[in-house]
Amino acid sequence: MKSKAAISIILFITPIFVACSQDVKLKQYIAKGEELYLANCIHCHQADGSGLAAVIPPVNSDFSIKNKAFSICVIKNGLQGEIEVEGQTYNGNMPSVAFTDLELAELITYLNNSWGKQESITTISEVEDALKNCR
């Protein structure tokens, strides 16, 4: 009887614990990602993620959710040439920065959970997979 109660308590608590630590991890990624964004991206993409007219594309749209792998490659390798974001064509030059896989995960997690967006965490293994297929 006692052990049954203990098991049911464990069964009940474990998911909460896992959910909580996921939540803490998500918050950590967002906080680290924000730091990286402020240091490396804000000049161009702006504090509100709106970019600059038809010169620099916005990062506050769900482009980086729908095209996550591509966006990870862009942040890692930079980008030149024409690209369409939210119906607008851009032809600029984004410089590359030697981010680690963890930093890339934090950055993309930040982008995809800011300015009203709510996606889940992007893991390091997702980043590794994306980087294998960069063009």
């Binding site: 000049h43 161009c44 702006q46 600059l52 007219a53 038809a54 010169v55 030059n93």
Partner: protein, 215 residues
């Protein structure tokens, strides 16, 4: 009860008067003392620093010079189209100014590229169109490196007090310099700071009213 209301009113009106805004913008920069001879007598006059004469081409290959700017106030800034640091933010803020004043005939924005090797006139044209600047009073100015540095260091940045010994150093100040119809500097604002640009928008109205009362 009555007393406390009076106190509240008194405090309120005091605090209001202490945040009274400027009514006339100051003339900035060092004054120069010049010697004059009037009726055979030597007199001294102090005149404010003014922006030296210049002539540049804009994105439509039109000449922008002192003649063109007669009777106008303008904002000057320095940038280059491929700048990865503060320039996009400055342009974002200038767009706010442009959106409000693009039809104002007594006003212009002069954005000098400091990278004429890369920023040719066609490229400036393309850049201005991408910013959404067409048919307004925002001019993207092209000149030789020497011309730009000369006007930048001698006329504008002396006033901003920037260290101009480092080549291009002053450019990264991100300053918006407000000049009146008599080539005098009337305000300097940090073009990367939303709050400073809010102040600029208020003070520009003051200056435009001053110019209208003169004309």
């Amino acid at each position: 009860m009555k007393n406390s209301i009076l106190i509240i009113i008194a405090v309120f009106s005091l605090s209001c008067s202490s945040i009274r805004k400027k009514e006339v913008l100051p003339v900035l920069g060092r004054y120069e003392v010049i010697e004059k001879t009037i009726d055979g007598k030597k007199t001294y006059d102090s005149i404010p620093h003014t922006i030296a004469d210049f002539s540049f081409l804009n994105q439509d290959s039109m000449i922008v010079d002192n003649d063109f700017l007669k009777g106008k106030a303008y904002i000057a800034d320095f940038f280059f189209t491929s700048c990865p640091t503060i320039c996009p933010t400055m342009k974002k803020q200038l767009l706010r100014v442009f959106d409000k004043y693009k039809h104002e005939k007594d006003f212009a924005i002069l954005s000098h590229t400091i990278d004429p090797k890369h920023d040719t006139i066609p490229l400036l044209k393309d850049f201005s169109e991408r910013l959404g600047v067409t048919g307004g009073n925002w001019h993207f100015l092209y000149g030789t490196q020497e011309e730009i540095y000369s006007i930048g260091e001698k006329s504008y940045m002396l006033i901003a007090g920037e260290d101009s010994s480092a080549p291009g150093g002053y450019i990264h100040s991100g300053a918006f310099i407000l000049v009146d119809d008599q080539k005098r500097v009337r305000g300097i604002y940090d073009g990367t700071d939303v709050d400073q640009v809010n102040i600029l928008l208020i003070e520009l109205d003051l200056l435009l009213n001053e110019i209208k009362s003169r004309n």
